[in-house]
Subunit: 139 residues, 2 copies
Amino acid sequence: MNWAATALHRLERAGYRSGAARREVVDLLAAEPCAVTALEIDRRLDSVGRASVYRTLDQLDRLHLVQRVEIGGDAAGYERIDPDQHHHHLICEECGRLTPFVSEVLEKAIERISREADFEVTAHDVVLRGACSTCAGDA
Amino acid sequence: MNWAATALHRLERAGYRSGAARREVVDLLAAEPCAVTALEIDRRLDSVGRASVYRTLDQLDRLHLVQRVEIGGDAAGYERIDPDQHHHHLICEECGRLTPFVSEVLEKAIERISREADFEVTAHDVVLRGACSTCAGDA
DNA sequence: ATCTGTGCAAATAGTTTGCATCCTC
DNA sequence: GAGGATGCAAACTATTTGCACAGAT
């Protein structure tokens, strides 16, 4: 079962009724492998009101179907949580570009911290900042 | 040399003139080991205008003397960058409490990623979310 | 004396809320 | 038919900017 179907199913089980706006937002997120901004979603979906975008993102976040990614500046990014696509981000401080990456060692380290800390870790977010290959060349 | 002195020195060398507001903000950050919000700083420093708080934080961030920490919700936190105090954060999604932690394994993993990625990593930020021992007890 | 730093208030930008209406169940 | 879902516009909140004046060099 793909992410979109799972998400709609879980929303339904959580007691939410089905609506056009939410379906459109879910579809957009399903097609986007990395983080998108709420305003970006609003801009791309003419038939959906801004409030519905935020409301849907909030619901998805609460059900852990989507993860909030703190992109450096003003707006927050959101991306679907999909075990097969788990990744973290490199953010270029020059051009703002967001690049996903995967690291087995990092995941192991985080698992170990979760186990050792007196804290029940349910989600984690790693952001590395610096200069991407393109921008680093300028220096 | 302590952080406050280093910071003021580096600001001077970066061409900034000395001013009362900035000195107060630097002093407050120097005394605070973990993240503080801009509005929190503004609230605690009556004689300093809000704009000066943001301007100072921006300058310190640019010089990598301070690091922006993305606390979950609305406001961003700032904390001094001090090699001796390097740490990451656990955020409780129930009560919002911020707890610092240190992990050698994690740092090694990040160093390795930096080395292997085609990306010049200058800073990193790890946030683990979940429930702190107090809140997990309620469940 | 010059030019930067600062406080204040107004302007922005992202996000949230109130409410009338539409649509799902 | 009842109650949740949605769009619009207004409200909020964090952050930024314009500007006149104080202070540093």
